[in-house]
């Protein structure tokens, strides 16, 4: 039977600038799905999932958009090695956002 786990890697964080989650080790998993939710009003948000050899230097792997009209978006990822993080851009002090990021891993 596979192992599955869901971590909340950003927990209702209020953002008003470019934002990145902390480096996360996920090497035990074969697949990952990131869910990004916004609570309340928010501008269009660009979402990217990044991978890394060391948790310090990052490469952009996949991306998507959480439009102002949407509440939630999902981004699947495979063959990501060990480290990953989620980068969210588009929030400003004039148009902030409150975000919740779930990371589901399976392997």
């Amino acid at each position: 039977m596979q192992t599955t786990n869901t971590s909340v890697i950003a927990r209702r964080v209020k953002i008003s600038d470019d934002y990145a989650t902390l480096p996360y080790e996920a090497g035990w998993a074969n697949e990952a799905v990131t869910f990004v939710q916004a609570e309340g009003d928010h501008p269009d948000l660009a979402i990217a999932v990044e991978v890394s050899p060391d948790g310090i230097n990052w490469i952009r792997r996949t991306g998507g958009t959480l439009a102002a009209s949407q509440q939630i978006v999902d981004l699947p990822l495979a063959q990501f090695g060990n480290w990953l993080r989620v980068v969210i851009t588009g929030a400003t002090s004039e148009q902030p956002a409150r975000v919740l990021v779930h990371l589901n891993l399976k392997g």
Binding site: S7, L22, P23, E25, G27, W28
Partner: protein, 309 residues
Amino acid sequence: MQKFLSYDRGLERFNPLARVICYDDFDTGFNGWLDLTPNYVEENYESFDSVIDLSSWAPNQLSSAAMRFASSHGSMEGTYSLKLTTAPTGGPHTEPPRNGSMGHAIKRLSRFGNPKLIQIESWYSYTPVQDREGKGEEDIRAIGFFFDVQDSEYRYMPGVRYVNSLGGKLVKKWQYYQVADGVTPEDWNFGVKDGWCVPGVDNQWYGRRFEDGSGDGYQWLPGGEQDLVFNESPDKINWMYFRLTVDIEKREYVELQSGDQVFDMRGIKPTLTEGYASIDNLINPIFFIETDTDRSVNLYLDSVVYSVE
């Protein structure tokens, strides 16, 4: 029924009490250890008012202890350990913990078998992330462990904290959880009147902190100086042994063992508080780590054994 018990060889490096309740080797998953979060039970799923953002603690991970210039350390025996991490948000040690500046892992349990003693053991290691030059030892403020216990009368939190460094200066001394005399609820909640938390509960983030590293919730352990192993680079780790035994019949500490050093804690008591509703017979073990600077720090638990007698 006659029982024959055969222990896993991995238990050879532990000294469990008579009955092992949990032997958690993180090669097999998170084993029920999870992030520590507040109670989202108010309007719009908000939590109660607090100076501390209790929702900000970083997510726990299954780690292969992969380092920047070294390779993966794996765990002491196997590939994965449980990693507690922090955000790079450490502030002055005299202030309340800043958002994300601590990492916690909790396992939610209850009493079983009416034991007299409870004990936690772990093989662990710690290091900062290698995001800058230097040795890095001085950027780890503290690591710690406590039990959250409630019996039919009291809630109390017996725990210990290794103060590694304060303001960039190495300290390397153990403390234990006990509230100093005269601490008021307002002191404990950093000035919030009618704060949710009472003195003696959640010492890891409540209670005022003072320049010398003491605090409302922490007392220095007599003879508690100890030079733990920090290797010569932030990307090298060594596994160390930890054990805390508590007498829950007498509601007092028994022993702290760190490496081969044993600290007799008989006669020392944690602070007893009035029981909370609906959590009779609760026993939660909790590990934590704190950063001293604008740098993420990590605590790795190879495996954890919880036993009773």
